[in-house]
Symmetry: C2
Subunit: 276 residues, 2 copies
């Protein structure tokens, strides 16, 4: 941010903030390699991601003018070439088109992120991976990343049918972990399993019909926890290709939410492997 401080925007049609216009609808349709970060915590994670050189960069920041003073130290974490704009509430809402942002928005860009095979090839000797197939709900996606970060996952690997974690709501629910945790989303579930097996991973598919209690998953230098779609879970073809684990629960109820189940399992695996 230049020495003059944030640039005041008086008109929602100002071309300098065109990237922020109607973000609610726009991120549902096209992507253009851009994403939206909302809120202070996510902005802090974006600053960390920007500095890490992982292929994620902040393009611009837009603040409600009443938020500027309180965010000075956070803004200083961004390089000076990232423009910071501010607007009053009327102009701000006219730009963004909704008011869930708490007055803190950033536009980001991602490029040159390593693909799945490159990520796997670069994982440390001792590593923990979360693998996800067919996740379709952005809340669950965000929650999976938040848990993955909390329990020391090295990478999140998704099949091509899984929804995009760079979607605004997923980033928000992840409290920004999507921006800092390496991930890849490509190929089929079968491909992903094959690559993980070739990489020496013990792969545990999580299912209510799993054979091993999650509390009995043995420590291993490389463990991958695999979760499936919200409704049906992992298909039998996948479950028969990997080891399977279950979370015991009372009978007669819907199985746990996928992010909840992953959180419980990751916590167990992280504990037995001394990762937390």
């Amino acid at each position: 941010m230049g020495v003059a401080g944030p640039i005041r925007i008086e008109d929602s049609a100002d071309s300098r903030i065109a990237g922020f216009v109607s973000i609610r609808e726009r991120d549902l349709t096209g992507r253009e390699g851009r994403f939206i970060a909302e809120g202070t915590v996510v902005l802090r994670m974006l600053a960390a991601a920007h500095r890490s050189g992982r292929g994620i960069a902040a393009e611009a920041i837009l603040l409600l003018e009443s938020r500027v003073a309180g965010l000075a130290s956070l803004l200083a974490e961004f390089p000076p070439e990232v423009p910071v704009y501010m607007a009053d509430a009327r102009v701000f809402d006219a730009i963004a088109g909704f008011n869930m942002h708490r007055g803190v928005l950033a536009l980001g860009r991602f490029d040159q992120m390593p693909g799945r095979d490159a990520l796997i090839a670069n994982l440390p000797t001792c590593s923990l991976v979360l693998a996800a197939c067919g996740i379709s709900n952005h809340d669950n996606m965000g929650s999976l990343f938040r848990n993955a970060a909390a329990f020391g996952v090295d990478a999140v690997l998704m099949d091509q049918t899984t929804c995009d974690p760079m979607y605004r709501k997923a980033i928000r629910v992840s409290v920004g972990s999507v921006l800092t945790l390496p991930f890849a989303r490509e190929g089929t579930a079968a491909d992903l399993i094959e690559r993980l097996q070739a990489g020496g991973f013990a792969i545990w598919g999580l299912s209510p019909r799993g054979e091993t209690d999650v509390g009995e998953i043995a420590p291993a230098p490389r463990t991958a926890l695999l979760v499936g779609t919200e409704g049906e879970g992992l298909p039998q073809t996948i479950l028969s290709a990997v080891r399977t684990a279950r979370i015991r629960q009372r009978p007669g109820l819907d199985s746990l939410n996928v992010a909840m189940a992953a959180g419980i399992a990751l916590h167990q695996v992280a504990r037995v492997n001394g990762r937390i």
Copy 2:
């Protein structure tokens, strides 16, 4: 449902379905001892609650006509005096005022539910309680109930500042567990702790600053897990009155979501006490 099958509603102003009008807005304001159940799974839990005589009853069911045939066996679980209405999509949406209901709605009534002290007095010798203070988000509330049901909690006890679990969205996220799991919401957190202590409960307050790892919580005939508000967690005054437990996680991140933390802790406590 009478032998003639569901009653067709042709007009959204029909007085017989007045209870379903604009439910989205209405449950935000007044309650009148009524609640809305949405979706097939919740409807099934409502049928179970109705039969259990716990003070929860179905008053009426409203279905999109295309859903009627597939729900015949579920409708048969309700007593014949519960009216079943059906409407086409246009009339249905005009009644309900939004379209998140998947064409399955029920209006319920609750009364004569036992209070906190009566619930505690009637808990079995070996029991597990989830206690919650200051929860303000209905998604978290629903998720707490869903986890409590999954891990065999006997009752959910909340202080008076906690939000209402009978709110439509909380019931939906709980996949209906709010309707089947005994709960009470009254009094202060300090009162609640005192009553649980008098009842011989080992009370564990969950906090990132907790002393004992959740995996080390000792088995006990009666255990209460206590969780606090989404933002601040449990206040120090409460934490110093109980034993405290933490979920280990990587440093430098936001603490886990409250429902996630409760799920992980309940899973551990349920396992060591042989409840699942």
